[in-house]
Amino acid sequence: MGKSRLLMSKLGAAKYISHLDFMRTARRAFARAEIPLRCSEGFNPHPLMSFALPLSVGQESVCELLDFETAGEMPPDALRRLNAALPEGISAGELYEAGRKPGLLRWLEVEGRLYYDGGIPDGASEALGVFFASGSLVIRLKTKRGEQETDIAPRIRGAAFTDAGGGVIAARAVISAQNPTLNPDAIAAAAGAAGFAPDFAEWRRAEIYDEDMRVFR
């Protein structure tokens, strides 16, 4: 059997499951669904599976890719069985043979909600749109070498902001998925640098793309 790929969603309460715990949860779901996974050889055998892009705790996603190898034939009703074995908020949408390597994944579309408890400051959405289009977005970013002034503009392909009512600005952005990666929280940080720091922000991965902005599967 070659590599298989699962397109998964992680929503609601499940967004608090960390990357490592998500792996554990997925592994157990396969066991409950009675789909044996191919295991590594050796002293402490473990199933061979990996997620394309680790997702931060607290962020939702409708486009997680999980690659794995089964030990035997893939049962025809595998998708149904897996969905019955997954906890609340996690679901599997499509199951197919893995094609392109996850390394070719390049862009990530995210949706965010920026909360302003005192109401949206006048003109904030428009100002943010202009600010993000200005070509330079220098914020303090945690890197391997500690916190550093970083220009994140090259990692943002586009960002749009609209009033969603109720003190919330809806954000939509296409950002770098990997090499280098950008945590969407940096967008909220950049909004702060523009003078519009939200009181709270939440994010959801909406779609993943390759270099040419074609949907990646």
Partner: protein, 616 residues
């Protein structure tokens, strides 16, 4: 999930602990429910989710129609602060609803150092701590678990205690409360009714008077409440299936594996061991039922490890058969079998070959004392020869790490006994040198000591705990004599054991001390990072009480013990004879070899009491 909680969860460590939504959690339709139970564990999610009792009682309660039982755990300090700052009251994981709106908040008390966590959970729930200050029938605040065999220190806070095994008793209480709600009973009316249920202790129906020296002068039941309250034993354990539908956490917990209960009770009769006395009589589940339950637990959870739990796993008379039945399922699926609580005197080559089949975990044994003389005193009848023989088998079988648990401060302990721990550890090392299959990997022998805490309902319930300074001196003595590089020595903190000892054998007057300790910031005292001895000493002092009086005082047989309001079914005369035998250094045979007539046989019609020994 509400906005406040979402924001709090963004800021705390391991938020998955508070989010719920796990696989196998039970969600019912509120419209179909007329009794809501919050099963509260006074420690973190990782600890509480690992607790077998929680798994068993959650399962039992949710089998009842129209009852919905949910889980509640203590938040870690960061979440505690967030909840207080944002005004988020303690909530249950399944529904997210506030605990104060439930019909019952049922706490599991298994460790004295978790008492402040229980109080803190009540406070987070927005409920008054003291039973007398909660006037309404609901939420009824109750407790069960091993610590309730001395309910007195927590008597002021709980409306009632459930003594003994909960599978049936809990459910009977739920039914009684459901009826009381329908009949619109007041809380006092309900409590009087509940006191008639076997195994229920309603502290407000008992008066306690004290002598001038601080000892108990008398315990007076009112309105027909029983004295003593005899513990409950669940019927039919032997042929029952172990619950197998446990909630599978979405984040790593302490014991992250499927578990089935192999035996209940223990045949050994170690004189220090509270569990060994209060869970009598010893009963073992049938191998067929165990295999069935184990396999369904694995199927329902997807875990890659199954643990066979009990107080002394290798004492199951048909353990090899159990293992073989399970391995037939586990081996082809890369599922490993783990057997904690093995005894060094009946660990065999046959057993070893079964536990190492898939993955090899470490081996742990608890000789408890270093010398034969002291092991005889505590009735831990494992010889040095047996231990070394077991280690030889393990080393020949490729194991290269062994953990050895001991206690310091046992009654009758001398410096020779302390040094014997070092000698025994060295002999284990020599055994490795002589028999190891692969010496290149080296060996790790981890020795740890805890400070002996005398517990109620044991043969040593009258004994004094050694003072903290003395325990520390013995630790130093042992440290200085643990020279080998491959032997590491670690020891438990004396301060925690001291407070644990004071609470374990405390009386009702400690309620005020516990309340004060909570007021001073006591939250998660079971955790080193939160425990603070100064807070405890100040709280004792505030009420003119001395922890030494409870922890370090030898009691006379004539003294009325605060916990005598509860009976484990083991006669006090038996405990006295065991304590006297300890002083003479005489051992008592295990229940399978010979029935020693402890009294627990009367509680239950099955188990080892009916399989051999005197009655066989």
């Amino acid at each position: 999930m509400n906005e406040k909680l979402k924001r709090a969860l963004r800021r705390v460590e391991k938020p998955a602990r508070y989010a719920g939504g796990e696989f196998n959690r039970i969600v019912k339709n509120k419209a179909d429910i007329d009794l809501r139970v919050a099963l509260c564990f006074p420690d973190t999610y990782e600890i509480g989710m690992s607790n077998l009792g929680m798994r068993v009682l959650y399962d039992a309660a949710n089998r009842i129609e129209r009852v919905w039982c949910e889980r509640v755990f203590a938040p870690w300090g960061d979440m505690d602060a967030e909840m207080r700052a944002a005004g988020i009251p303690l909530f249950a994981l399944e529904s997210g609803d506030d605990v104060r709106d439930f019909d019952i908040a049922a706490f599991s008390l298994g460790y004295e150092m978790a008492y402040t966590a229980a109080l803190n959970m009540l406070s987070l729930a927005g409920l008054p701590l003291r039973s007398a200050e909660r006037e309404n029938l609901t939420p009824l605040v109750i407790a069960g678990g091993a610590c309730c065999f001395n309910p007195e220190p927590m008597a002021d806070f709980f409306d009632l205690f459930l003594i003994g095994e909960g599978e049936e008793l809990n459910c009977e209480l739920y039914e009684l409360l459901r009826a009381a709600k329908a009949d619109r009973l007041t809380k006092p009316e309900f409590l009087r009714r509940a006191a008639g249920l076997r195994g229920v202790y309603v502290p407000s129906l008992y008066g306690v008077s004290y002598n001038a020296d601080g000892t108990v002068a008398g315990i007076t039941p009112r309105e027909g409440a029983p004295l003593p309250v005899v513990k409950r034993v669940a019927a039919g354990f032997v042929s029952s299936a172990a619950p197998s539908g446990a909630v599978v956490p979405s984040t790593e917990i302490v014991h992250d594996r499927a578990a089935i209960e192999l035996l209940r009770g223990c045949i050994r009769g170690c004189r220090f061991c509270q569990a060994g006395y209060i869970y009598r009589p010893a009963r073992e589940r049938e191998p067929e039922k165990l295999a069935e339950s184990g396999i369904s637990a694995l199927k329902a959870s997807g875990y890659d490890e199954l643990t066979l739990l009990s107080l002394s796993t290798s004492d199951h008379s048909r353990l090899l058969e159990v293992c073989d039945r399970l391995l037939e399922y586990c081996e082809p699926r890369n599922i490993s079998l783990s057997l904690p609580s093995l005894r060094a005197d009946n660990f065999s080559m046959e057993l070893m070959s079964r536990v190492q089949r898939v993955r090899k975990s470490g081996l742990t044994f608890a000789p408890e004392a270093g010398s034969r003389r002291l092991r005889d005193i505590i009735n831990k009848n494992v010889t040095e020869e047996e231990l070394l023989n077991t280690c030889r088998i393990a080393f020949e079988g490729g194991w290269s790490s062994v953990k050895l648990y001991f206690m310091l401060g046992l009654p009758g302990e001398t410096d020779e006994d302390v040094l014997a721990i070092a000698e025994l550890s060295n002999r284990v090392l020599h055994t490795w040198r002589a028999h190891a299959k692969n010496k290149n990997r080296g060996v790790r022998i981890a020795v740890s000591t805890s400070c002996f805490v005398p517990k109620p309902h044991t043969a040593f319930q009258w004994s004094a705990q050694v003072p903290r300074e003395e325990y520390s001196r013995r630790v130093s003595l042992l440290r200085e004599n643990m020279r080998a590089k491959s032997v590491t020595y670690s020891w438990h903190d004396a301060d925690t054991s001291f407070i644990e000892a004071a609470l374990a054998r405390g009386d009702r007057r400690l309620g005020a001390v516990l309340e004060a300790a909570h007021r001073r910031g006591g939250r998660l005292d079971a955790w080193g990072e939160y425990f603070n001895i100064g807070r405890w000493l100040a709280s004792f002092e505030e009420y003119g009480l001395d922890p030494d009086f409870y922890a370090c005082r030898e009691r006379a047989y004539s003294e009325i013990l605060p916990w005598s309001v509860v009976s484990s079914g083991v006669d006090e005369s038996f405990l006295i004879s065991e304590n006297e035998a300890a002083k003479r250094g005489e051992t008592t045979p295990d229940c399978r070899t010979k029935c020693s007539g402890c009294g627990a046989r009367e509680l239950c019609g099955e188990g080892v009491c009916y399989e051999g020994g005197l009655y066989g």
